[in-house]
């Protein structure tokens, strides 16, 4: 009994290591995919799909959802449903936004500084040249 228990934990640990490798690969893939020459929508779809897979892996294996009770699934399905309703809300308000464009950059506010210490992303440096010097809020 004890031996079987040990094997079970070891099998779990092996699974955690595989998930860890998958999460690391997914993270690198997310950054690599952001340099692909695709449309903005393409970038959004790719990035969120990878994030969804990574999130599912964490929930399924680290949070043990794969072996949880069905009662818990109903709570989580309800939560996920409401989460997507929340995310869909802005699309209902899109027309409202077009007719009331108050939510914009405050007048007289300079664009933000960008991080130029140790990296950046693609053409970020060029896009904000001069902005850092202006700074201020």
């Amino acid at each position: 009994m004890e031996a079987a228990h040990h094997v079970d934990v070891k099998a779990h640990v092996r699974k955690y290591m595989i998930v860890f490798a998958a999460l690391t690969a997914g993270t690198i893939l997310t950054v690599a995919a952001s340099w692909l020459p695709v449309s903005f929508t393409g970038h959004v779809v790719i990035a969120l799909l990878i994030a969804l897979v990574k999130g599912t892996l964490v929930a399924a294996f680290f949070m043990h959802l794969v072996s949880e009770r069905k009662a818990l699934y109903s709570i989580l399905i309800l939560t996920v449903g409401f989460f997507f309703v929340l995310l869909a809300l802005p699309s209902f308000m899109h027309g409202e936004m077009a007719s009331h464009p108050q939510i914009h950059v405050a007048p007289g506010v300079a664009p933000p500084a960008h991080d130029d210490h140790g990296g950046g992303h693609g053409s970020a440096e060029h896009a904000t040249d001069g902005a850092a010097e202006k700074g201020g809020s």
């Binding site: 955690y16 970038h43 950059v105 933000p112 210490h117 990296g119 992303h121 970020a124």
Partner: protein
């Protein structure tokens, strides 16, 4: 003993099929999903209303810093689940070792966030009031950082004085570590979505 006053802290409740702490943690996490969901929703709304301001070429966040922090959180999640696995082998020192590594990762994440991101931005005059993107950025990452701080407090407790519970009731302690892990993995999942949304899109 306090755990005797609370029913189903170790054994599963006959109705839910799980101990009460786990059900409570999952319900709490469901409310957290709504909290962050509202912020993601606001982000989408503000992004629609401010085309260009949210473009990652304009915001210029340092992707490498975000990438390092993502990796650190993933490592911390693995350490957390391994701490729980060690308890199933009756190995409290092993559990505490992994809890300590989780704590190190969490502190590292916060140090990187505050010194290399927040402080750098503040030094260059970038604040939440700078534009809608930075309002979202500071709110979402700030709330996430607060969750990290909360995790540090809880993990620190179970690494230190809270670990005494193991000697009197190991199953109860194991369940508490599992609940702490659920919370910590949730914090990791939130960052998994925050990273591409704020740094890459």
């Amino acid at each position: 003993m306090s755990h005797e006053l609370l029913p189903y802290t170790v054994k599963a409740h006959p109705v839910t099929g799980m101990y009460s702490g786990k059900l409570g943690t999952w319900l709490f996490l469901a409310s957290e999903v709504m909290l962050f969901g509202a912020l993601f929703s606001s982000y989408i709304l503000l992004r629609i209303g401010n085309p260009g301001v949210f473009d990652h070429h304009v915001t210029g966040l340092n992707v490498w810093i975000g990438l390092i922090n993502t990796f650190v959180l993933i490592v911390s999640s693995v350490c957390m689940v391994l701490a729980w696995a060690r308890l199933h082998e009756q190995d409290l020192p092993g559990c505490r070792k992994y809890l300590a590594w989780t704590l190190v990762c969490a502190v590292f994440f916060l140090v990187v966030k505050f010194i290399f991101e927040y402080k750098y931005k503040w030094d260059h005059g970038t604040y939440p009031s700078t534009n809608p993107f930075y309002a979202c950025y500071f709110t979402m990452t700030g709330l996430h950082a607060l969750h990290i701080v909360g995790g540090i407090v809880v993990i620190g407790y179970f690494l230190g004085p809270g670990s005494r519970l193991y000697h009197t009731n190991p199953e109860y302690y194991t369940n508490r570590i599992e609940c702490t892990g659920l919370y910590w993995h949730f914090v990791d999942i939130v960052w998994i979505f925050l990273f591409p949304v704020l740094y890459l899109l």
